[in-house]
């Protein structure tokens, strides 16, 4: 569903062959894809592992706030849409883990890093889904912001990631539309439904803007990620694109983003918005968001309670193999 901090990269790991580096960069400059068996700088590999696995973890943790409404969807059509959407998120997690595995890390290792708190996931999922309107808002805004980040990733220089993103983006685009359609229905509904819709926008607006990561001026690795074509637009460029798309969508259905400084700038054609409260972002990132503990506890519990199931599957597979081998002798 979402990538955050596309600018996080590992420090350079030491001297690497200058000729290989030059060839690698030339390939990227020609817009050719880097494939798993190609030589790549260690920092490129580690940056991608971190970014792709973080993206995968976000898909998996993101199933929780939406799963929260699966058993309470207001009608059968909405329940079916939400089930399909949450299932898609699981599928995205699966592709992305597979894409990251091509860089030489196992899914088990990535999952361990998440559960031990050594890997991040998108902090947007540390916010609660309190009412049904939150399901609409998550689709509209959170998936909407994710798409802004992810469309350029379809052209990312790393082949497996770029290819995974093509399918993911198609599904995310559907998710965004269903979310907007769901919240639109509320906005044109009863007073109670409208209240629910505006309340959801009030709570999700700023966290959605924060999804693009820190401002460019505080984004130290942007230059290198842009040079490697892992990243093609800066955080602020993408954030502006998102605001320009979302504000008219809100107004169309009679909702108002919670920003008194929001105004249309005729000259540039952009919606100008107020200062983001980065202290909130940093607090959530530091583990102090409303649901950080619940989300991690739910993941750890599922993993721990699933241990005997995974062990059973392995034990059975080994026994089956042994029986087949014995029969062949």
């Amino acid at each position: 569903m979402y990538t955050q901090g596309l600018n996080q990269a590992v420090e350079d790991g030491g001297p690497e062959d200058a000729e290989l580096l030059a060839r690698f960069q030339a390939k990227i400059d020609r817009e050719e894809k880097i494939e798993p068996n190609d030589w790549m700088p260690e920092a490129y590999r580690q940056t991608l592992i971190r970014q792709i696995s973080q993206h995968a973890h976000s898909e998996i943790v993101g199933m929780l706030p939406e799963g929260n409404w699966l058993t309470r969807a207001p009608n059968l059509r909405r329940k079916a849409i939400l089930l399909a959407k949450v299932q898609d998120e699981g599928g995205h997690g699966l592709y992305l883990y597979a894409a990251a595995e091509t860089l030489g890390i196992s899914r088990a290792e990535m999952v361990d890093r998440l559960l031990e708190g050594r890997a991040r996931y998108s902090s947007i999922f540390n916010y609660p889904t309190i009412t049904w309107a939150d399901i609409g808002a998550v689709g509209w805004l959170v998936d909407g912001a994710a798409i802004m980040n992810q469309i350029p990733l379809c052209r990312c220089s790393y082949g497996p990631y770029a290819r995974a993103m093509i399918r993911i983006c198609k599904e995310e685009s559907f998710h965004q539309r269903q979310g907007y359609e769901a919240i639109s229905r509320l906005a044109e509904g009863t007073a109670a439904q409208k209240r629910m819709a505006q309340d959801a926008l009030d709570r999700w607006w700023w966290p959605s803007l924060m999804m693009f990561g820190p401002s460019d001026t505080d984004s130290p690795h942007t230059g290198r990620s842009m040079r490697w074509k892992i990243k093609r637009f800066t955080n602020d460029e993408l954030r502006q694109k998102f605001v320009d798309a979302a504000v008219p969508q809100a107004h169309l259905i009679g909702l108002e983003p919670p920003d008194p400084e929001l105004r249309y700038d005729e000259e540039s054609g952009h919606w100008r918005f107020g200062e983001i409260d980065w202290s909130e972002f940093n607090e959530v990132l530091a583990g102090n968001g409303p649901c950080n503990r619940e989300r991690m506890a739910a993941r750890r519990k599922a993993h721990a309670e699933g241990a005997w199931v995974r062990e059973a599957a392995t034990a059975h597979a080994l026994r089956k193999q042994a029986r087949a081998a014995a029969a062949a002798e």
Binding site: A80, G90, K301, V309
Partner: protein
């Protein structure tokens, strides 16, 4: 023209799918492995699709203007006609998969036969459901075998699930006037005829898994007549909450 018998029959099958789908949806995001999380959601979605078609059919045949949502969200426990088996709680993954297998082994016999129904709507729904049930039973049977023939712990959990749920399996093959009359007309499938093939499949899988049905377990029944376990009321309280809190609202 209203057709109370076909409406009641479609409602029974629809309620089975609806309630089992709901139970599986409780797992989503909490499965033992990512692939299983996706599979549980996928099965839940298939069953929900079946439920929507069957409830819509029931509503149309009933002729009282109730659509799928009116039937799903507007009835209380006494008017639900699902099998007791499908409303039983998820328990652990073993319990969920044993429940699923006992049901799938029935569904995979029911739907292909019902696809030859003289009722075209039911036949169409059954044709679609038959394809889905074939996947479902492959998945649930594989897990019953893996768990039964896995570790000591998984074997014990699977056996405990079977001991708990076996008494609910007999209800699947009960029939009252509804099924009997419709089966006579070539519209419904008489459940009693499914017992043999169901039993053969279940025994083969349990045998491979090293599991055995409990001795002397009674038969728990009553769901088709609205006599449910305590669990259904809690399920409905959650499932119907929005429609109860905001009556008449469009979503």
């Amino acid at each position: 023209m209203p057709d109370a018998l076909t409406a009641a029959y479609a409602l029974r099958l629809g309620d089975d799918a609806l309630i089992l789908s709901h139970r599986l949806s409780e797992w989503v995001g909490h499965g033992p492995e990512l692939e299983e999380d996706i599979a549980l959601a996928n099965t839940a979605l298939d069953l929900l699709g079946q439920a929507r078609l069957l409830l819509a059919c029931a509503g149309a045949r009933e002729g009282r203007g109730r659509d799928e949502d009116a039937l799903a969200y507007g009835r209380d426990v006494l008017d639900f006609s699902n099998l007791l088996l499908v409303e039983q709680p998820n328990g652990d993954f073993a319990q969920t998969m044993v429940r699923q297998f006992l049901f799938d082994a029935y569904a995979v016999e029911l739907w292909p036969r019902l696809s030859a129904s003289r009722d075209e709507v039911l036949a169409g729904i059954a044709g679609k459901a038959a394809k889905e049930a074939a996947y479902h039973v492959e998945q649930s049977a594989a897990w019953v075998v893996r768990m039964g023939d896995g570790t000591e712990e998984s074997h014990d959990r699977a056996q405990a699930g079977l001991d708990l749920l076996w008494p609910y399996a007999g209800e699947i093959f009960e029939a009252d006037g509804v099924e009997a009359a419709l089966a006579e007309e070539g519209i419904a499938v008489a459940p009693s005829g499914l017992r043999g093939p169901w039993r053969a499949r279940v025994e083969a899988v349990l045998d491979e898994a090293g599991l055995a049905p409990p001795e002397g377990a009674g038969v728990r029944t009553g769901g088709r007549q609205g006599r449910h376990s305590e669990h259904l009321g809690h399920l409905l309280a959650e499932f119907q909450f929005m429609q109860r809190a905001y009556p008449g609202a469009e979503w």
